[in-house]
Structures are given as structure tokens and as C-alpha cells.
Symmetry: C2
Subunit: 371 residues, 2 copies
């Protein structure tokens, strides 16, 4: 193997795989990136057996070949190189010689045959999105996925296909039992989601990093217990989680007796201040919705009190509810729009939160009993 | 106590004391800031008994008074306030009521009488510096101070007065036994340093944060086993450490048989790359100084090799030495100047590092035996 490649292209390619490689795995090979040089391309492959990334970079390949090297170290080396061109050459002792300007590294390699093979993937359907829509979909639900919950089905995001007035959408839903997030993105294609299959946390977090905010097309490919995100020169494969997702529709409130419309930035800044005095997540904060304002109140015996009012438009009668303010803050961070609407049926019923101008996302927060 | 104050002024004042307060002290009072309102000023006082900071801020004081409140929390609260004016008022339950726009906090207070009194300070001498000179002095030596060394005298920076050709300077010296840093700054004044007294690490780190890079005057005041930095509206007091500093002059090499002059940025980028393969601080890196280049070489059996050459001007014969590259990197970060000079007597003698264009700082690194 011998090739010349642009340092900054290579550095960006190696940056993308840092979220995939597992530095502390019991199998050191998962800390490696496989380099595969052929026909004007250097292919980077990284996997932890649950997710895999393949990225092709333009390169001036003198001799094709393969080698796996420690990925975090290669990234550090490449970023530090003095010249904009990098020369890779495999020596007779299976070491990758990296040259650039005055710099001259020899990095230990592992034979490509020892690199784990990626599972075969047979495409059974595809869905095409704009990059920004798919990114929004992931961002709007990822924060609600449970973390290592014993209820296995909460540890991933459920996906399904919905057809709304002839418009095809992918819906994603996540819940940790305390709050729920549901988001939809329009798409084109032919596909069916398998039942009982969830997108795990790590795949969601890699997707968030890979996806940009542009209007380019990206494709989700459907396979057997796995999905693939395909974009020009890149494939991100991830295994789905086999878990029973709860009947989320039962959690989404149908009834509303009190609807409060509030300026999102007002509520967000109030929640930020109120949070300073909340150190115990299990303690509910008092939210009193009156005809013309929302009053938020925290009394912490060890720290002090905070008391703030936010202007609102209320439809329905006054109501007082307890919330974990952190859950509302998470929602305000992803909901979009100038205003936000909170819909309540009664003080202990789930509260719906949404952007009044958009139907592509809905959020539910379970209230807490006030002392 | 009641006053109005500018939020951003107050926020900057509270930011300055965050490095002084001790959040995890066994005495919770050290996590507090004392607020003292009088005659158009709000005075902030913070201390951990080894260092203390007093800062005066302009305020519209309606009623004078004092209260101590938890400093990190007050800083968080003030930064989050919506309006540019902040209203402080002490209520009958010794709580500090903080109002700004819609926000309304009541923070628990501790009576000013419970706040530790600062020791009396009698000024026995003063030295006046430009702010940037004093900052450089501290920066150039602080990284060489030992950390909790059993040799007590290494845990602080030694200071002394030097008179060079009629110019008065303060010299600071620090060493951890592996490397030594010596820096000097010109000053004006009348003072004597007590023997056996050292500036501790925490005081150095606070000084670095307090001092800017401008040409304004700052004054060091000398007292009994303590110093004070005095600047417009601010006093930073710190206790000196009673410890025997080693005879540092014996460590500074007098002899040199090999003098290498190297472009500082070249050597710095080489050391950065070489460091990627050095994970064991106890392992020496090979530096071979030849007539026209410095060759730096690392061979790490677990990771690979790196080999780099840097152009140099050498006076004297060729020589090969082992160094911990991290120690050289630390020096290159503070030495200043386009070029750097390394002076060696023989492979196991201390190596002097300095800016050839300046006599205000000198650094010594102990070489290591090559395997």
C-alpha cells in the first residue's frame, strides 16, 4: 500500500470515526480503523460490531493495499502533521509509514484479515430524506431515550411509518417513563419497519454527529435487523435493538382542559434560573398557570427560594402542577418555534408540549405530586 | 443592606473570586463571599485562610450592610439574570433578595460576623511593576513548582531581589527537581524579601488569572510572612510558605561545550508530534544534535516510531542527549522569542534553555540516561 492524500480531508474522515471506535473494549481491534486503498480512494472502516462506518476519501493511490491501525492515535498524528499532503506507505514489517514535511512516523499495524468483517446487508427498502429533516428527527427524540433501563424496550427509539393525508413520514418515538418525545419527518421511498426493533442510543448519537443541517438528500436503507444511512461516499450501518417498545399512544393525552401558550425564550430563561436552586431531581417545582401569567416557584431549605412569573395566554381555568424543570428544559431545547403550548387535563395527567405552528413533533411530560 | 448594581460588573467581580473560594472545604464558610455595602461601593471578600481577595465595585447603595452568601451559587444566579440592573436587599430572615427583571431569588445568608476576619497586614515595603511584567514573571515559573512534594521547599516559588547594573528586579525561581525556571521582572520600590519564604501554587495560579497583559501599574506590598497585590479597587493577599528552597544557583550550569540555536516554532511542533508516541514519562527521548540538524527519535514497542529532524545552528561538537520532551514543551510555551538556545556541557549535565535575545528568563532541564 502506498498513497498520497490531503491532510485536512483525512483529518475530517478520521474525526468522523472517533465516535464509533471503542477505546476501552476488551477487544483491542475495535480501537482500530481499517485503511483500504484502491483506485483513487482510501476507504476508512470503523466498527464496534453494533455500529459501523465506511467513508471513502479521494487519494492518489500508488499501490493498493490494506492495514488496520489504532484510530485515535492515527487521528492525533494526522492532525499534528506539518504539510498539507500526507504520504502513507506500508513497510515490510506491517508498519504504516506516515510522512509529511519533516515528520516521519512508523505506526504499528494489524493485518486487514484480523479486522472484523461487516455483516452482509441486503437492502429490502429505502427512505429518502433531506439531511436536515432526518437530523431534526433524531435530535427531537434522542434525549428521551432511557439509559440502561431494565425495561429493555426503553433503551432505544422506536420507528414507524405513517401516512398522513397522502404524505409519507417516518415517525420516531422515545420515552424513559417520565417523558416522551415523538417526531416525524417527511420522506420518499418504499419500505416497511420491522416490528419490535429499536434504534439504540449509540446509533442515535452517531447519527446526530454525522448529519448536517443542509438540504442534501440522505437515504436510509432497510435490512435484516439493521439500517444503513447512505450519503455520498459514506455508509453508516447500525444494528437494531430487539425490544418491546411500550404502547406509546396510550400515553399521549387526548383530553385538554387548560391550554397555555408562552413565549419559548421567556420560559427557557425562567427554567434556567429556577434550575439553579433545584439540586434534587425527585423534587417537583410548582407551576401555577393563572389567567395572565405562569408563576414558577422553588423553595429549597438549604439554598433559598426563587419565584418568577412568565406572561402567558391561557384557555381554560387556572391550574397548579408539579414538574421536574429539567424535563421541560430538554424539550424547549429541541421544540423550535417562537411560542410553545402546554396542554393539561388535570394536575396529575400527562402534559403535552408542542410548537403551535408545527405538527411534526409532540412531547409529553409526566407531572409530579407537589408536597 | 439595599443596593442597585450593574449585572455585568457584578458578574465580572464574582468571576474573579471563583478561583479563591473552596467549594469542598470542611468549613462551609470558605465557600461564601462576604458582601459589604457602604458609600457607593459593594465590597466582595473571599478567602480560604491562605489567600484572600477584596474587590470594590461601584454600586448605588440605599442602605449599608453586610451578608455572606454561597459564592458559586450567587455567581450562577447573577449570570442568569435577565436585566442589566440587579437589586440586592437583605430581608428580616437574613436572606439576600436578588431582583432583576422578572427574576426574584431569596438566597440564604450567613451573618458577616461569622465570616473569617482577614489577618492584619502591615506594609513593610513595596515594589511597583507593569501588570504584564509581573504576569510574565509568574507564568514563566509557575509550571515548574512541585506538587505536594515531600521536599516542602519545592512546593512554592522562591522570590528574591536582584540589582543588575543599577536596575532593580524581582527574581522568581521554581523547581521540581527535574527542571528549573528562573525569571526576572524590573520594578521600582523599597523592599526586602524575607529568607525561607515561598509563594505557594494556589497564589501563583490566582495571580496568573488576576493579572492582565496591559502596561498599567500594579504594586506588590510586603508584610509579615505575606504579600499583597494591590491594583485599582482590588487587593489580593497571600500567605507565604515557610520552606527551605534549594541552592538553585548550584543547578544553573556555568559550563557549555555545545550551543544549539533552533527556531522555536519548529522545535515546538516536533515535540508535539513526538509526544504522541510517548506515554511513559520515565522514558527518555533521544535528541541528537549534529552540525546542521537536531534529530529527535522515539521508539515505542507498543505503538511505533517517530523520527524527525529540525534545522539548527550548532556551536561546538555533536552531542546526543536524552530528555523528557514534555519538560522542553513546557519551556517553549513560556520562553518567548523566535529562536531558542539550548546549552549543554555533556550528555548527563543539566541543559540550559533560553531566549537568545533576552536575559529575563532562564530554564534548566535535567537530561535522562538513554537506554
Amino acid at each position: 500500500m502506498e498513497l498520497y492524500i490531503d491532510r485536512d480531508d483525512l483529518s475530517r474522515g478520521l474525526a468522523r470515526i472517533q465516535g464509533i471506535i471503542e477505546r476501552r473494549s476488551t477487544q483491542p481491534i475495535f480501537a482500530h480503523v481499517l485503511l483500504h486503498a484502491r483506485d483513487g480512494l482510501l476507504r476508512l472502516t470503523a466498527t464496534d460490531s453494533e455500529v459501523a462506518y465506511i467513508g471513502d476519501l479521494s487519494a492518489n493511490v500508488q499501490n493498493p493495499g490494506d492495514i488496520a491501525v489504532e484510530a485515535a492515535q492515527l487521528f492525533q498524528v494526522v492532525r499534528s502533521l506539518p504539510d498539507s499532503t500526507v504520504h502513507f506507505k506500508l513497510d515490510e514489517n506491517r508498519r504504516l509509514v506516515v510522512r509529511s514535511g519533516r515528520a516521519n512516523f512508523k505506526l504499528l499495524g494489524v493485518a486487514a484479515e484480523e479486522y472484523p468483517a461487516l455483516p452482509a446487508f441486503e437492502v429490502t427498502g429505502t427512505a429518502r430524506f433531506t439531511e436536515r429533516d432526518l437530523r431534526r428527527l433524531v435530535e427531537q427524540v434522542a434525549f428521551s431515550v432511557a439509559s440502561e433501563d431494565v425495561r429493555w424496550g426503553l433503551n432505544g427509539a422506536h420507528m414507524e411509518r405513517v401516512d398522513i393525508d397522502g404524505e409519507l413520514r417516518v415517525r420516531m418515538v422515545a420515552t424513559d417513563g417520565h417523558r416522551l418525545a415523538l417526531a416525524e419527518a417527511p420522506c420518499e421511498g418504499e419500505f416497511q419497519f420491522p416490528a419490535r426493533q429499536l434504534v439504540p442510543r449509540k446509533a442515535l448519537s452517531v447519527l446526530k454527529k454525522l448529519l448536517g443541517t443542509g438540504s442534501e438528500s440522505v437515504v436510509l436503507e432497510f435490512g435484516d435487523r439493521a439500517l444503513q444511512l447512505r450519503r455520498d461516499g459514506e455508509v453508516f450501518w447500525f444494528r437494531l435493538l430487539d425490544g418491546e417498545f411500550p404502547d406509546y399512544k396510550a400515553v399521549i393525552p387526548k383530553e385538554k382542559n387548560h391550554t397555555a401558550r408562552i413565549k419559548r425564550s421567556d420560559l427557557a430563561s425562567t427554567l434556567k434560573r429556577v434550575g439553579i436552586l433545584v439540586h434534587d431531581r425527585a423534587r417537583a417545582v410548582r407551576f401555577a398557570f393563572t389567567d395572565d401569567e405562569l408563576e414558577v416557584q422553588v423553595h429549597n431549605v438549604d439554598r433559598g427560594e426563587v419565584n418568577e412569573t412568565v406572561p402567558l395566554d391561557l384557555v381554560g381555568t387556572e391550574i397548579t402542577v408539579g414538574f421536574n424543570p429539567r424535563y421541560l428544559q430538554d424539550i424547549l431545547g429541541v421544540v423550535g418555534g417562537d411560542d410553545v403550548v402546554l396542554e393539561l387535563a388535570h394536575p396529575l395527567a400527562p402534559c403535552m408540549v408542542r410548537d403551535p405552528e408545527s405538527d411534526t413533533a409532540r412531547f409529553v411530560v409526566m407531572p409530579m405530586r407537589l408536597d
